[in-house]
Symmetry: C2
Subunit: 195 residues, 2 copies
């Protein structure tokens, strides 16, 4: 049992982050000890410090990589030039991306207050980038007369908040398929912003 020592382990790093991710999501950053993480990996607590300078960095790295993945994946989605189509694309993307990463999303929204000020600022920048990309769609639609939105900033946050809500209840294999969920949310988003 446990890992033998001396063994080359390019896999220990990922396993540590994976265990930390699940435990942080489940019990919260402050409630999880380094020893719990180590136990999950099958290693002593001291060994974790070959892979992270401290506990805070472990959390920060998880959050930053998640936000970077999100931005990169969204950038890779070639968005339509038609605002309505672009918004539809965003809704589908956002729902699916987030449902595939429940733990990362949970942490990214719940553990912001456990970041040091500098780390917090960096994560906030990334999130604002994402919001700005969404707001651009709404502004384009507003300018073209396709959308009728009182305040695009509010609408951006409202749409994202509404979509994020799906994470609190959706379970694969439940009453509704992913396509049905996506359709239901898209119907509401579309009507909420359309003239």
């Amino acid at each position: 049992m446990a890992r033998t020592q001396g063994s080359h382990s390019d896999i220990t790093g990922p396993r540590i982050r994976s265990a930390a991710l699940r435990l942080f999501a489940r019990h919260g950053y402050a409630a999880v000890s380094m020893r719990q993480i180590a136990k999950e990996v099958g290693v002593q607590a001291g060994a974790l410090y070959n892979y992270t300078p401290d506990k805070q960095s472990l959390l920060f790295r998880l959050m930053r990589e998640h936000m970077q993945d999100l931005l990169q994946a969204y950038a890779a989605l070639n968005s339509s030039s038609d605002p309505q189509e672009a918004l539809r694309g965003f809704v589908g993307f956002h729902i699916r991306f987030h449902l595939e990463r429940p733990d990362e999303v949970f942490i990214a929204y719940m553990e912001l207050r456990n970041l040091t000020p500098e780390n917090f600022a960096e994560i906030e920048d990334l999130r604002r980038s994402y919001e700005n990309a969404v707001e651009k769609i709404l502004r384009d639609g507003q300018r073209s007369g396709r959308f009728a939105i009182a305040d695009t900033k509010i609408a951006t946050l409202a749409v994202i908040a509404m979509l994020n809500g799906v994470m609190t209840w959706y379970r694969a294999g439940g009453r509704l398929s992913l396509d049905e969920v996506e359709q239901a949310y898209w119907d509401m988003v579309r009507r909420a912003v359309t003239a």
Copy 2:
């Protein structure tokens, strides 16, 4: 400095809960120690146990009282029999009630995982009551043909999630007045559910 002992203190209890509320909201339940709460009140840690059997009960009481206040306040709002008016009333109520209690709301949504299973179940029941009241409005409107909603359960959660989003960014004295915010959200909610 500090409180003198022996003084009658019907005010110590409320002050403890008030300090716990603010600290839990700011740093999270697990990250706040009983000594920090005591210090905020100006008392030694041991004195807290005259007012709560343990830390868990302190959190639970804050959450339960908040949910009960929410349900009671909503019940006191005499709702219109017209679904659209009822929904409008709910939107205004929900936004204002929640913006008046940022700390309570934060805790009620973030600290669920730090409740014991029994306590969690009780809070969940209260929240479901609230959701059911909202869903009733949507079903009434659906039945009368006023609303066009694919799934009233999803729509309920979507509307609440969207409105809750206001808490993450609204600050009194900011760019928009409370009335403007309420109007903007009501516009979106109305269009999202209206036929």
